[in-house]
Symmetry: C2
Subunit: 357 residues, 2 copies
């Protein structure tokens, strides 16, 4: 049922266009995936998400295990029915959130113990449990427990984290294979900003039968140059016949770069987070809708955009909603931002197919 | 273009079913109108509002004159295009808000001066200006400036307020007629809880060629019995061939009572306000979605409801969204609550037509 087909490989760059087949439909790659951390893309109904052109969304294991809990989602036969999104879903492992969000966190060889940021309760996670949770979620693509070293961590620290990450991912991969679930599990390459560690990680993980590979530990504070170095160095080391995913990337310039390095999948909270602060994409630029110049502006956000928001509302109306702190502001601005990123990547896919990228 | 046709009058009560024709389409009465104070029904896109079955919505002159201002809405050729709602709109005069929301308020013979609750700026309103504002808004039904006496005000106070209200409404009516705008202007009956003053007000205003009549100054703190006394006494005093509107009514039991007294139009913030606090209508009762018993409840809010929310989401999911403070919670709960009230009144209309009410 799962299959990744590369439809066209560019002769001008490493870019490729593909189709990732899942039980919930195909994903045409390269693709941008909006984030629905708590089983909702903030402010959008499933209909509205679909209207942005999104093919697949992300949800987060850390958040969902704490609330509403795996039992509740399992009872709904998984996330798709729980949130009424019948299309593909990828779930992040929650590793990143364990280290960034929880109040306390202790790392053992077998896994981590952490204190919930919601109510202070203690929880354990280990590689097997993280797969089990995502099995209950029925996500189409699962991610294994890993350690995302903080930006600026020393070589020794990153190396130690990487060793544990590899052990956990090996366990996860073996556990996943024994389960014989149809869901896919990806491996996650770590290694911070150290090329040698990135190479070690890519080579080590490539030896395991993961269904695809992600580059983690980026978009955590590094410069654009460092980001490009990591992606440009690591992506080509991953098996070309499997999907490649860079986690947490949402700026158009970064997406363009990574796609040319052969990356297929992207996710980011950027479009909905920007919307919450009134920031919108207008012809490639980020602009705040609060600006006084929009007070009487009858034109749509972006005259070339075909999203629901641009087809039906003026900048003046959107500015009014934002200033009046109306909920509809977040919804309409998010629709535009998500649509913009989804279609930016779709457009690059067309450029690959027509031999221009 | 405007016309009010009574299609059927009940033989069992004063209830009637009618059609109010407007340039933006017909309104089948009796009807419940959701409130979109700031040119948005909180949390709902125009598509979502329409899907609730709403035929007409309310907006508020006080809020809109302050933000975004009449100039902005006028530039959009009115509220319909501004908020992308091509169906009928009724605008409240803002009289109620001037007295309840503004920081300071001085009443003169010619009108009122008040201080904005937004930025402390001073503004004047008078009967003519309130009509001019609504002319700029292009609302289908306009309301005149009035004074809504506080609940518990003395006979003398209410009488004095009423005298001023009548003078203002007379001015508004004459000004409106001279303008020759196709928009409709209603009169507003005041008089507090004093039958004698209500009678005076109804009789006085009936002498002017308003297009319809509203009963104001209810739902301001009085008991259900007092409310029913006011409506039961006042509604029959209004001209039967014109639409009758009770302002601010949203509880099903109150709507049922008023419809049997011949009232045609209702509005209330209740369905969206309740949703904000997690309160939903379930088979006639108000229930909080937070309840622990809903944690694993896979059934829809109301198994007999055909709204988007009930067709697609479980109580467990809606509880999760509310507890996680997700924006989508307000949207989905509002859709259900608005749908419920709109269809409750629609159902009563069918009962009138089939001779059961």
């Amino acid at each position: 049922m799962y299959r990744f087909d590369i439809v066209h490989s560019s002769s001008k760059s490493k870019a490729r266009a593909g189709v990732l087949h899942t039980p919930h439909g195909p994903i045409h790659t390269p693709v941008f995936m909006p984030v629905g951390t708590q089983a909702t893309v903030k402010g959008l109904s499933p209909d509205q998400i679909k209207q942005t052109g999104a093919q697949v969304i992300l949800a987060n294991t850390y958040h969902l295990m704490l609330r509403p809990g795996a039992t509740c989602i399992d009872l709904h036969q998984g996330l798709h029915r729980f949130m009424n999104w019948p299309y593909p879903i990828l779930t992040d492992s929650g590793g990143f959130q364990v280290f960034s969000l929880s109040n306390q966190c202790r790392i053992f060889d077998e896994g981590v113990q952490f204190k919930s940021h919601l109510d202070g309760s203690y929880h354990d996670l280990n590689p097997q449990k993280v797969v089990d949770l995502q099995k209950a979620f029925r996500s189409d693509i699962m991610m294994p427990l890993d350690i995302c070293s903080g930006y600026g961590a020393s070589f020794q620290q990153v190396q130690a984290d990487l060793e544990k990450t590899h052990a956990w991912e090996t366990t996860a991969c073996q556990y996943w294979q024994a389960l014989q679930t149809p869901q896919w599990l990806f491996g996650i390459v770590q290694g911070g900003t150290y090329p040698e560690l990135r190479r070690q990680s890519a080579e080590y993980l490539s030896g395991y039968p993961f269904a695809g590979f992600a580059i983690g530990g980026v978009s955590v504070g590094e410069s654009r140059q460092q980001l490009e170095e990591i992606i440009g160095f690591t992506a080509p080391l991953l098996p070309d016949l499997k999907p490649k995913y860079v986690m947490g990337l949402g700026l158009p310039e970064n997406l363009l770069f990574a796609i040319q390095e052969g990356v297929d999948l992207f996710d980011c909270v950027l479009p909905t987070r920007l919307a919450r602060h009134g920031q919108v994409f207008i012809q490639g630029k980020r602009v705040n809708i609060k600006r006084a110049e929009f007070e009487f502006d009858l034109t749509p956000l972006d005259p070339n955009c075909a999203c629901y928001t641009c087809q039906h509302f003026s900048r003046a109306y959107l500015r009014h909603l934002f200033k009046a702190k109306e909920l509809l502001s977040q919804t309409l601005l998010s629709i535009h931002n998500v649509y913009t990123l989804v279609h930016f990547v779709d457009h690059l896919r067309q450029e690959i197919l027509s031999g221009n990228l």
